[in-house]
Assembly symmetry: C2
DNA sequence: TACTGTTTGTGAAAACATTCACAGCGTGAG
DNA sequence: CTCACGCTGTGAATGTTTTCACAAACAGTA
């Protein structure tokens, strides 16, 4: 089936994000009973242009038909093949505080491909308890648990001043991708990918552009 | 002082985000007693290039000295003038669930310029209670509370199927900026700015690029 | 004074991302 | 059958963001 193009110009960050979005939208469409979808329909619900959708889909190597558009099931499958690791990947969460707990609650029993399989904290009150269906380990056990479960991805929700240290510990035991919520720029080896979610920054962006939209002209840039 | 350039080519999204980041880093530097900073130093801790920093700073209209670099205090002040609304802005949070509570806990008593001044939920158990220092109102009171407090920004942390309705309600009563955590593309009037934080998408991005970094070469693109 | 070393601000180039626009194709109408 | 239609996939054009590279400024040094 869908052959992911090989010696290609590295698929961009933005495209990967949108593929993830398309997949979610396609799942909704599938649930509503749609068998086929056209690029302009997907674009409409994704909030981008039809050309953008088609360009992004080039990366996954599944071609639609000019007559029926894309077959929903097959497109979902092709995106899955392109994005997901075969067999799924376990994720660790470090820092079971307010945010960490919310994330555990949210991801528990959700996407079967990416599931949080272990939590870690240095607070004795949390260690060895099951929180939202996930066992919380002591930090000292991190190396062995990560190795045992073959974990290569982690979510960091510890306070800012602990994040660098945690990131280093994770990198050292073979974790290759970090989703970081701490408002700190992590320094990691070049073979570790870091994605930051910085709520304060996002909120300030909203404040700035909302002010522009109110005071000057209008619209989202 | 620092004159924000006026008839300028609309400052980009990305630049605004980085200015917010620079400001936070500068506050740390100031706390450590630094008086001056060079673009390459700021770049080092921000994780970008010196040229990028200088280019971004052009937007705020504060010039550094080739000898001492940028004066930390004055640069913070210039960024503040450029980004922030004078007098600060109140923010509403709608949906006091797991994530909403974590966010309330985090932002309470934090940045004085952007503070959460009201929370809303439709769950009778939460209405009229004070949660992490913030009063939770009924949804029915949203219009009057928003008007009374002059709220123009909101954070949406309701379930996906309620998000569109909530966004419309907020737009209708004059809110101009939304920070949306629900995994849904909101349709709002063109004078409302929406910023999405989509954790699932971010995590899938991490998974994809971590896999590349592991399997192929290395490094964060 | 003249020279060195360092940094800023910014035009110009390069890299990257999005959109345009159209050939090609299969379908269904006539 | 022939034609017109509407869509895909993609080369080329356009738009945006980042990086390069250098003139200008000036403290320190001798
Ligand atoms: N809560 C939010 O909405 C929010 C918003 C933006 C950013 N953040 C960031 O997310 C992070 C977590 O926020 P939070 O509100 O959940 O904080 P929190 O204090 O509620 O939770 C932090 C958790 O990390 C644990 N921890 C502390 N040091 C540790 C270490 N060295 N190793 C392992 N665990 C450790 C603590 O025991 C605690 O359980 C912070 O960096 C914060 O800046 C949170
Ligand atoms: N928790 C997470 O880590 C996480 C991660 C990614 C995305 N999200 C998204 O964030 C949103 C909130 O997640 P959560 O885990 O806090 O969910 P939650 O169920 O814990 O909280 C939702 C809250 O919204 C309230 N609510 C429901 N319908 C409402 C309405 N019409 N008007 C006002 N309030 C209403 C509920 O009473 C509840 O308090 C969801 O859209 C979820 O998809 C959450």
């Amino acid at each position: 089936m869908a052959r992911q193009n090989e010696g290609n110009p590295r698929t961009s960050d933005k495209t990967i994000g949108r593929l993830s979005l398309y997949r979610r939208l396609l799942n909704v469409l599938q649930g509503e009973g749609h068998r086929h979808v056209f690029s302009h329909q997907l674009a409409g619900i994704a909030g981008c242009t039809a050309a953008q959708v088609r360009r992004d889909l080039m990366a996954v190597g599944y071609s639609g038909s000019p007559i029926h558009g894309y077959e929903v099931v097959r497109l979902i499958e092709s995106i899955r093949e392109f994005l997901d690791a075969p067999g799924g990947q376990g994720v660790a969460l470090v820092g079971v505080g307010n945010l960490g707990k919310a994330i555990l609650a949210y991801f528990t029993g959700r996407r079967p491909n990416l599931r949080i399989v272990a939590a870690f904290d240095n607070d004795a009150h949390k260690v060895n308890r099951v929180i939202h269906g996930c066992h919380c380990h002591a930090m000292a056990d991190l190396p062995q648990v990560v190795k045992k479960l073959g974990i290569r991805l982690a979510i960091i929700t510890v306070p800012a001043n602990a994040a660098q240290e945690v990131a280093e510990g994770l990198s050292r035991v073979g974790v290759r991708g970090l989703l970081n919520f701490a408002p700190v720029r992590l320094r990691v080896p070049p073979n570790v990918y870091v994605e930051d979610i910085d709520m304060t920054m996002s909120l300030e962006k909203v404040a700035y552009f909302a002010r522009l939209a109110g005071a000057e002209k209008e619209g989202k840039p």
